[in-house]
Symmetry: C2
Subunit: 187 residues, 2 copies
């Protein structure tokens, strides 16, 4: 009649891993999370073991106590690959035509595509983004000096660079001509 609970739903496995991971990230014990969320510790054990079929509102209380979005608890925990690829994906019939996939990122919420132009000697020092954000830069004219922490990287025209933008960083043009680049901000 009813299913013998094969728990086919992969969502539950993700939840189990995510809750544990995020709870440790928040430096909370099961007891502490239980008090903060209002969900019994016994239930938290079951959730982290993946042996109970959690309801939405219960899971939402956990998400709120962990200070994360609900969707963060159901997403596959390891799908995020902010890997740099830079491979030739297509070559046209005429020599020189090409398509290069610079990077592929598993986005959760937002993407921002920016066009930038920085005159020689100019700079931009943004506030660091929150944890999880990353930026992808593609310089198509001039030369860009990227400062991350105390480390400086020069990105020439035609080059691509990607970094986690929660650390302090700055853009600077040390060259003699204007630098123009595309900036892709992703979370």
């Amino acid at each position: 009649m009813h299913k013998e609970n094969p728990q086919r739903a992969s969502v539950l496995q993700h939840v189990s891993q995510n809750v544990r991971r995020l709870r440790h990230a928040a430096d909370l014990s099961q007891t502490a999370l239980s008090e903060k969320s209002g969900v019994s510790r016994r239930m938290l054990v079951a959730i982290e073991a993946g042996e109970k079929n959690v309801s939405l509102s219960t899971l939402d209380r956990v998400a709120e106590a962990l200070d994360v979005a609900f969707s963060d608890l159901i997403q596959a925990p390891d799908v995020r690959d902010h890997s740099r690829i830079n491979e030739l994906a297509w070559a046209g019939e005429i020599v020189g035509s090409k398509a290069v996939l610079l990077a592929k990122a598993t986005a959760r919420r937002e993407v921002e595509l920016w066009e930038w132009r920085l005159e020689p000697g100019d700079r931009y020092c943004p506030d660091p983004d929150l944890e999880g954000w990353s930026e992808q830069l593609f310089v198509f004219e001039g030369s860009l000096t990227l400062v991350i922490g105390d480390q400086e990287t020069v990105i020439e025209a035609g080059e691509f660079f990607m970094f986690a933008s929660h650390q302090p960083h700055a853009y600077r043009n040390d060259g003699s001509a204007a630098v123009r680049f595309v900036r892709n901000v992703v979370i």
Copy 2:
């Protein structure tokens, strides 16, 4: 002792709206969806009314029957803005330095950043993407002819364009010099 069910969880409201919207989009009656998903019609009514606290596996069965991702059922239904912005967001101290936010998209799963180069006379005709995908193009050298359906658009160097890529489309270089552009694929 227990709460008088204020159902504070906004997730449940989203679910209620999403299920109904997607069910209509799939052209299914409650009865049909019930048979396809294995969830009782009585429960579907409750879900769409937002008066029951659905469990993950039950909602996952609904998601599978609707042929959508689980996260599609819990997300706020109208948050997707693929709006073109193109506003000057920052101006440097030296005249000419600038940052232009070309576009901001609410991404759900993936982002792909591509660098392209197309020689004169060359073209690329990809298979149309699935519903929901969109592409953002920024041409920084040459001139690109974008064919969408039976409509042609010429994008000059320095210009930006965005379109839903589920419709048949093609890139073509009608100019006399190579065209180079950045292509951002988002869902």
